[in-house]
């Protein structure tokens, strides 16, 4: 249960951010930890950190709940933790404390222009597709694509500049 004690707070917070429902958030966190434990033999640390795997599972399960989609239907929509950390320095988070990381991420996200921050947050925490975001925000699809790209490039540069991401 060490893993649970370490990451339950973050996992639950992510599920709550997406779902806003304590009961469903509990279900999602439970499922995610079970998935980790039952698939522990298949975990390859070279492909990404355990935390990334866990939080990605929590986020994806939460979006599944939100959108009424069975997990197997979203195989192609999975975030790509293996791509997110392909280098041998795949888990930069071990190098600094969690609090420092979080402060840096908050600062980085906070420094984004509002429309770029909105685009990535609607996608990541809202589970909206880029087309849906274009409709919601009344801008062309190409604009949404550009905002997402710029936001992630800036985040990457910001975190890289603070030694938090190995690119």
């Amino acid at each position: 249960m060490e893993l649970y004690d370490r990451y339950a707070g973050l996992s639950y917070a992510v599920a709550m951010r997406v779902l806003g429902d304590p009961g469903r958030a509990e279900d999602v966190v439970q499922e995610a930890f079970l998935k980790i434990w039952t698939n522990a033999a298949g975990f390859d640390p070279k492909k990404g950190s355990l935390r990334t795997w866990l939080i990605t599972a929590v986020r994806n399960r939460s979006i599944d709940y939100l959108r009424g989609r069975a997990a197997h239907e979203r195989q192609e929509l999975e975030l790509q933790p293996e791509l997110a950390s392909t280098s041998t320095h795949s888990d930069p988070w071990h190098e600094v404390s969690l609090e420092l990381e979080r402060a840096a991420v908050r600062e980085a996200v906070g420094s984004l222009p509002a429309e770029q921050r909105q685009a990535v947050q609607l996608a990541y925490f809202g589970g909206y597709s880029q087309s849906e975001i274009a409709d919601m925000t009344h801008v062309p699809l190409s604009t949404v694509k550009g905002r997402m790209r710029l936001a992630l490039e800036k985040l990457s540069s910001y975190l890289l500049g603070r030694g938090l991401v190995s690119v």
Binding site: Y4, Y12, V29, Q30, R69, Q121, M148
Partner: protein
Amino acid sequence: MSDHEELESSVAAWVLGALDPDEAATIRVHVEGCATCQQTAARLGRAAAALPLEVEEISPPARLRERVYVAAAAARASTVPSAPARKRVVPARRGWKPAASIPFGPLPALAAAATVVLALLIGLATGNVIGRNSVPPVPAQVSRYQLVGHGTLAGARGTVVNLKVEGVALVDFTGLPPLAKGKVYQLWLITPGGRPDSAAVFVPDSNGGKVVLVGLPLTGYSQMAVTAEDAPNGSPAPSQQPELSGNLG
């Protein structure tokens, strides 16, 4: 715009999980064969993976730790070949009804056994739980039901979390009053025909809470109920009308 440029423009949305399935499949195929887009996806993916760190941590309810622990233990146990889960078929007592909508009465032993076998066969054949969730039924692996108390258990509640893949269920009880000396709570699974099968015996903690593992698939059962019975092993059949019960569907 070339095909490559067109596809590359959606890589950010892809790593954010913001593409429809068909679009995502197209991008995935392209990225797998395009070194430039692989690098882009890796770089943007690392940034996307950092996004959850923006969220302020929230301490989950203490009971969740217990739920996760019990479920993990159950999942591990289910991977080890073992004897079939304990399932006690008990004779029903006339007049005991978990709910007005469910007729409950004595069944001949043979018919009861046949019902159990049929329920098990249905479960094996379909791999599904017969009941339907009372909340939106996704993801398919988990469904939840509520047990509601009345009478002396009016303040008690139970949340049933059915882990279909693992073939077990957890019941998260709250508000259970202390038991009289020499008594335990006994959890019953009830078939549509009204036959109760003992699922667990338990004693709540000092706060009236308890997470109980039901090591049986819920297939073939329509209700769950709780009674107070003699310690330590409970009763072969319910000795009273349940004051805490709910539908499994």
